[in-house]
Amino acid sequence: MKLFEFKAKELLSKYGMPVPKGVVASTANIVKDFPYPAAIKAQVLAGGRGKAGGIKFANSFDEAKGAFDQIIGMNIKGYEVKQVLVEEKLDIAKELYLSFTIDRRVGTTLLMASTEGGVDIESVPDEKIFKAHMSPLIGLQPFIIRNLTKALELTKEEGKKLGQIVRVLYNAYEKEDAELAEINPLVLTEEGNFVAGDAKITLDDNALYRHPEYKDMDRNLDPLEIEAKKKGIAFVKLDGDIGVIANGAGLTMATLDVLNAKGGKGGVFLDLGGTDDPQRVKEAFYLMEMAKPSVILLNIFGGITKCDTVALGVKEALEEKKMDIPVVARIKGLHEKEAKEILKDAGMIPANTISEAAEEVVRVRGA
């Protein structure tokens, strides 16, 4: 789960991170008394908002109001700006980059830092980035901070202050179960202090049970995705109009791929997981119906999952909701025969392979 900048800063601040004085607002009047000059920053979960015009500066409330009106409601990479962060303007001497992420390749935490802050780290040449892996068995040790300070060619005084920042960020990253904790830019002010200019935090969805305080946080998700998340169903809204349901993430993706290869366009990715509980299957179908697909492609491989009870759930869902969306069903495996009978009964269009099903879906949609 990604956090908005202001939420990320709020969280880091709890751990002792210096952040600029700031106020979040959805209408300009809230920041009448702010001590200007200030930066007016769009709060969206997308990168590159600066280039998109989502950050402006204001020397007075009047200027702020103007900037506010321009930014609020803006669309940045498909996200509507609903909130704006008004923040004290910093006297920037240097801009650094600092982050902790999970390096899946090595299976441990990766610390990255650079003197080339304020730009996308992907665009910084590798030799300008200090990298260090940390075993979770020992965590962040002084030698890493020492080597970091040296690599960034900081003064001893700066290095000492940076060390504190690094420890705070690591502490937050670890304690809050973050996948990513990034400060970019980490501003070194003219007065010689470090302040988090921006902050990106992605929390591990798998660990949210340990952090119930984030449970109801705005996820910037589609309402149906939020609904699905609550039900524990993997549901992703896509650009197309065809709903794809399968059991297993890999199989669902593969089904989507075949569909797209055959000229269809997936509108929903819905992974039933390992369930063959008709009730769960029904709930999944209700969600699918709410997404209003033109056709549904159902692909079930019954290994442990029994095909017939899945089919039963589908049938009941169609009947109860009086759904008239055509369903092309490919079903294979345990109790396959019984399942096929049930699906035929329910008026679904049968298919033997994923390709066949995909072709059929495209045909039905075109018809």
């Binding site: 390749r105 299976g107 068995l137 798998n206 890999g250 199989l251 993706m253 989507l256 791929d257 797209n260």
Partner: protein
């Protein structure tokens, strides 16, 4: 032969008395796996399908000589279960549990490495060598003894591919799910190394998906192998920044696209199937 498991592997199931545990204990016993015990705190002294249940792993290892464990305990308790198994001397952990926090997974993997133990998973369907041993939740009936080794990040998609392989007349030496999470134990490369050494394996199939660089890394390893490698990549049409079910299946910050993976395989001459059903055709030529 086989990799990591064989007919002598003695398995306990952590979480055996749960719904899944009971079901898969039976399935593994039916398959012929030496399931020698189960562990559920507070249920020690009972039995599941004739298998003795213990309160703790050390006890179970002392009583049964188990050297492998299948972990089915819920995510919030998985790290503790793994630590318990590792401290009791378990050498192979098959970590079926899904949704384990990443920081916990990192700790598990690092601690296992410190104990020279192997971890398969998390979020894996397990490992199976037809005719020898199954530790996992895969449907045994779709497998057939043969010479194709399979390494996969997926579950049902693997079954789909396995069933096509079996229907084609080929069979499997060992089929291992490496897990659908970003942080896993045994990697594609580890599995490929083992399969390269395994006399029963003639060809290796990699079932990959979007997210991370596991497939690109695997491709780099291919030239050092004598055995032929085939691949399938799921998620070719998945959008960026959306987690496609698996925690590991996400194209984030431009990394982990199917395109990059297929390109990497192409470069080293690994045929990439465009349909799951194409895999056996590629193998038999």
């Amino acid at each position: 032969m086989s990799i990591l498991v064989n007919q002598n592997t003695k398995v306990i199931i952590q979480g055996i008395t749960g719904h899944q545990g009971t079901f898969h204990a039976k399935a593994m016993l039916d398959f012929g796996t030496k399931v020698v015990g189960g562990v559920t705190p507070g249920k020690g002294g009972s039995e599941v399908h004739g298998v003795p249940v213990f309160d703790g792993v050390r006890e179970s290892v002392e009583e049964t000589g188990a050297n492998a464990s299948m972990v089915l305990v819920p995510a919030p308790f998985a790290m503790d279960a793994c630590f318990e198994a590792l401290d009791a001397g378990i050498e192979l952990l098959v970590l079926i549990t899904e949704r384990i926090p990443f920081h916990d997974a990192m700790r598990i993997m690092s601690y296992a490495k410190s104990k020279d133990a192997h971890v398969i998973g998390p979020n894996t369907p397990g490992i199976i060598s037809p005719g020898l041993c199954k530790i996992g939740i895969m449907p045994s009936h779709i497998f057939k003894k043969g010479n194709v080794g399979i390494l996969s990040r997926s579950g049902t998609l693997t079954y789909e591919i396995v069933s096509w392989i079996t229907e084609s007349g080929l069979g499997q030496s060992t089929c291992m799910g490496i897990g659908g999470d970003p942080i896993i134990g045994i990697t594609f490369i580890d599995g490929m190394e083992l399969m390269e050494e395994d006399d029963d394996t003639e060809a290796v199939v990699l079932v990959g998906e979007i997210g991370g660089t596991a497939e690109e890394d695997a491709a780099e390893y291919v030239p050092s192998m004598k055995k032929k490698v085939y691949a399938y990549i799921a998620g070719q049409t998945a959008p960026a920044e959306k987690r496609m079910g698996h925690a590991g299946a996400i194209i984030s910050r431009g990394k982990g696209t199917a395109e990059s993976k297929i390109k990497a395989f192409d470069k080293v001459g690994v045929p990439v199937a465009s349909l799951p059903s194409d895999i056996p055709k590629l193998i038999t030529g």
